[in-house]
Symmetry: C2
Subunit: 161 residues, 2 copies
């Protein structure tokens, strides 16, 4: 990957506030919006989302853990909407139990990016999921598309600020 594209991709993963989550809903795709935070620990890196157990996408992820997470560049950065950079990451959605050993560090990581979410952590029907990347399609701009392996995404997540 060209160095400038690596910088762009890392910026998408690190700085964007929300992503589009694609789940399988009654056999059809469903896209919803999710705030996300990058999470790294020894042996694992991925995207944290915090979702309501009552929402469709949460039920979908439990039934079908294969999801798609798309992160899009700010439209202010692109010359034209057609050239907005974006990355679509195929992920496996892994639920985080409220009594999991890593729950505390997961909650702190998420709240560092979204302190305003703190009241939601008191609701027992809200849950963290870790979206573990499997592969990705990165479009750095017009006619600049590339397929990336899980190792490329993970190494970016592990070494990012």
């Amino acid at each position: 990957m060209k160095p400038e594209n690596a910088i762009l991709l890392r910026s998408l993963l690190e700085t964007r506030p929300v992503a589009a989550l694609g789940t399988l809903h009654d056999g059809k795709p469903l896209v919803s919006m999710v705030p996300f935070a990058v999470f790294r620990m020894e042996g694992a890196a991925g995207f944290l989302i915090h979702v309501s157990g009552l929402s469709a996408h949460t039920r979908d992820m439990v039934a079908h853990p294969d999801v798609s997470l798309m992160i899009v560049e700010s439209e202010d950065e692109a010359e034209t909407p057609l050239a907005i950079a974006r990355v679509s990451i195929a992920c496996e959605a892994v639920p985080v139990a409220h009594d999991a050993q890593e729950y505390g560090v997961i909650a702190r990581t998420y709240l560092k990016k979204f302190p305003e979410a703190e009241p939601l952590l008191n609701f027992t029907d809200f849950h963290f999921f870790l979206l573990v990347p499997r592969s990705a399609r990165f479009v750095a701009g017009f006619a600049q598309a590339m397929t990336l392996g899980a190792d490329t995404i993970e190494s970016m997540l592990e070494t990012a600020n």
Copy 2:
């Protein structure tokens, strides 16, 4: 729907440049980015997208016309990322043949919003699809979600500027 929410929804449909398209890809959801334009003609209203026949989402739409289109408010408008307004619209993707009677008006409608796309119209492997709304889930802000029927979305599309 409250009048302020109707104004917000109409603004999302009319003014946002791109949307997140969810398709069914090898049995899994795939989210990609698409520029879109609202299209209205007698007896039909929906969202126009212009896509490459070589891309995954185009093959997906041909195989499985049930798609999800999510349009998200500009993050600059929301107080927090958690409250960004968005609408997820379940649509049926209908391909537009290059020799269709309405091709000219469709191309003009799309180019009015994206004049920079004109060179792409000369590529024979680029195609318009009309995404016809079937139902929608509109989140106007935090804890303000509502389900909308196709008639509500269509009437907004038909009467918008």
